[in-house]
């Protein structure tokens, strides 16, 4: 069945784009991490309206009649279409049915739906839709891009973005597609904003991962787009060398405290990349700033005997749920380019005995692990590699 597989070649990240609360492109987010910029308000961080208008102005984002007219006003769709059009344009190859698209989102167009439903419940005139199917977001993107290749939407909680990258890599390696676009997209909506608060998971102040004085997560919005290819067409600085995912079978909202979930996903990713844990130069942790997450992830890192520095950057950009895996993988790409690692912001006083990184600094980077842990006990890890010159 697998006649066309060539296991020997790497999968390259040949393009990327990010939109986040600090701006457009990864440089502005990198600078925010270096400068320890904090912008959370009551544990939330939004993308500005100005940035949304900028996205809308650069491309004709809706060249086709939308499947649902309300989506033209949806910010998440605007950021997503902008990011995908940007990486497609820069890729300089037209879309074909040999191009895959994998979208990671937990809420998609829920915001449109809940607007309609909330007005209905309050006996107000309905603005928006009373319901939007889960795949409506992907269908609209497909329609506007004119994409005709394989399409999937992964919604495995906060591990969805990392899983999407791992699955896209598999598509490339097997020869199923020639190029794969990955989109991680998340917008804060009433459901997530009030839902995480109802679980007492949202910090009233700032997000301080791995700090013993932590008070919870900060939610944020983001979109990240990546292009994966089996060939390096010149500019790639990063490869996806390994991928692993595992369930921990423990709880709907908390990872198993012994860290067996992230341990298994990291072990699988290392095995897939055919490297040892000692070859890892930096771990870009999930590090949400919730006690349960930080404890399980730290236990897994310790069990793997990884001594390399560990950073979470969510103290700066917050947690963008399904988009976080893609956004933070783009941060890792920038780290390879600069040969520099970021500090784990605001982690003093430290809670764990793993090597939490104190300061942003130059560092020889050949391999990075990117972790994500999600509700429902799902974990996913990537081993990212530097493209040798």
């Amino acid at each position: 069945m697998a006649q066309l597989i060539n296991d020997s070649h790497s999968v390259y990240v040949t393009g990327s784009m990010a939109i986040h609360p600090f701006g457009m492109g990864i440089q502005s987010l990198w600078e925010a991490c270096i400068n320890k910029s904090r912008a959370f308000q009551e544990g939330l961080l939004y993308i500005s309206k100005d940035l949304t208008e900028k996205c809308r102005g650069e491309f004709n984002l809706f060249p086709q009649k939308p499947l649902v007219k309300e989506v033209i006003q949806n910010d998440l769709l605007i950021w997503s279409l902008y990011s995908l059009k940007k990486v497609i344009n820069e890729s300089q190859l037209p879309l074909s049915n040999r191009d895959g698209l994998i979208i990671a989102t937990t809420t998609g167009l829920t915001r449109i739906w809940e607007q309609g439903l909330l007005s209905h419940f309050k006996n107000e005139p309905v603005t928006g839709l009373l319901y939007q199917p889960l795949g409506g977001f992907a269908g609209e993107i497909n329609q506007q891009l004119g994409h005709c290749g394989p399409l999937q939407v992964v919604s495995s909680a906060c591990s969805a973005g990392t899983q999407a990258i791992g699955l896209g890599r598999s598509w490339i390696k097997s020869g199923f597609v020639e190029r794969c676009f990955i989109l991680g997209a998340e917008q804060i909506c009433n459901l997530t904003r009030s839902g995480f608060k109802s679980l007492s998971l949202v910090s009233g102040n700032d997000c301080v991962p791995f700090n013993e004085e932590r008070s919870g997560i900060c939610l944020s919005e983001a979109v990240g787009a990546l292009v994966l290819e089996g060939k390096n067409r010149g500019k790639a600085v990063m490869t996806v060398e390994g991928y692993g995912s595992a369930s921990d079978g423990y709880s709907m909202t908390s990872p198993k405290p012994d860290g067996s979930g992230p341990y298994n996903s990291m072990s699988a990713a290392l095995q897939d990349a055919n490297i040892s844990s000692r070859q890892v130069d930096w771990i870009h942790a999930h590090g949400t700033g919730s006690l349960h997450n930080d404890r399980a992830e730290a236990a897994a890192i310790k069990k793997l005997e990884i001594l390399s520095p560990v950073s979470s950057t969510k103290g700066i950009h917050g947690h963008s749920l399904a988009a976080s895996g893609v956004l933070e993988t783009i941060l890792c790409e920038e780290a390879f380019l600069r040969q520099q690692i970021l500090e784990s912001s605001f982690s003093e006083p430290k809670h764990f005995t793993i090597n939490i990184n104190d300061r942003s600094r130059p560092s020889q980077l050949d391999y990075i692990i990117k972790n994500t842990l999600g509700f429902g006990g799902i974990n996913a890890s990537l081993v990212l590699g530097r493209v040798s010159k």
Binding site: A138, A157, A160, S174, F176, G244, S245, I378
Partner: protein, 214 residues
């Protein structure tokens, strides 16, 4: 390979262990236990890849959560955690200690074909036991407001890693193979060893039975 399709809810025995579960979780668990009564089969599933696809996901708790929010401005945490699409998949992994990779996928047009295409495309690189689940349950309250039908659906397909050992994936498109448009059709086609094609968007994926052509 094993296949189970949801029948009438009155025929399903819901375990009291599931009293806090959503309707989809209950039906899925009942189906899982019917399909895999033997302990050794559960052992084979411990590190299987799980692919769960749905057009609407856990829409009932989502609807009820938002209703509560509109009425009292306070969200109920239990409804929120069950509103996540991955909560169904997570519930299954927790209940039966399935520790492999689990993927919650959003159906776009034909969730069953999309699930099959995705799982088979992943098996091109690594052959593993796979559990494919399609489920949907649309709440009556919301069905009355929209064009969707209120109906609970659940289908489970277990593909052992050697299910397609007598097949070869062909890269070129071939529309003369049997078109598979559901789990049930896939089950029939494999059991009769016919070559088949899956179509999603404008992309096709064809598997040819060895020593045969489409």
């Amino acid at each position: 390979m094993k296949y189970w399709k949801h029948h009438s809810e009155s025929d399903l025995i819901f375990d009291p262990r599931f009293r806090k579960a959503t309707k989809m979780m209950k039906v899925l668990s009942a189906g899982f236990e019917e399909l895999f009564p033997e302990e050794d089969m559960k052992n084979k599933l411990i590190d299987a890849e799980i692919y769960l696809g749905s057009l609407h996901g856990e829409i009932e708790p989502t609807f009820n959560y938002l209703k509560g929010l509109a009425e009292s401005e306070v969200g109920r945490p239990f409804l929120f955690q069950n509103s996540l699409h991955h909560s169904t998949t997570g519930f299954l992994t927790q209940q039966y200690q399935l520790l492999g990779p689990a993927y919650s996928l959003c159906g776009i047009e034909n969730a069953q074909v999309e699930l099959l295409m995705f799982s088979l495309s992943q098996s091109l690189l690594n052959k593993k036991n796979q559990l494919l689940i399609y489920c949907d349950s649309f709440p009556i309250d919301l069905a009355e407001l929209t064009e969707f039908e209120s109906e609970t659906k659940c289908e489970i397909l277990y593909l052992a890693e050697d299910t397609l050992q007598n097949y070869q994936w062909i890269k070129q498109e071939d529309s003369s193979c049997v078109e598979v448009d559901s789990f049930e059709k896939f089950y029939q086609v494999i059991n009769s060893r016919q070559s088949f094609t899956l179509t999603q968007n404008q992309a096709q994926m064809s598997f040819v039975a060895k020593n045969e052509s489409c």
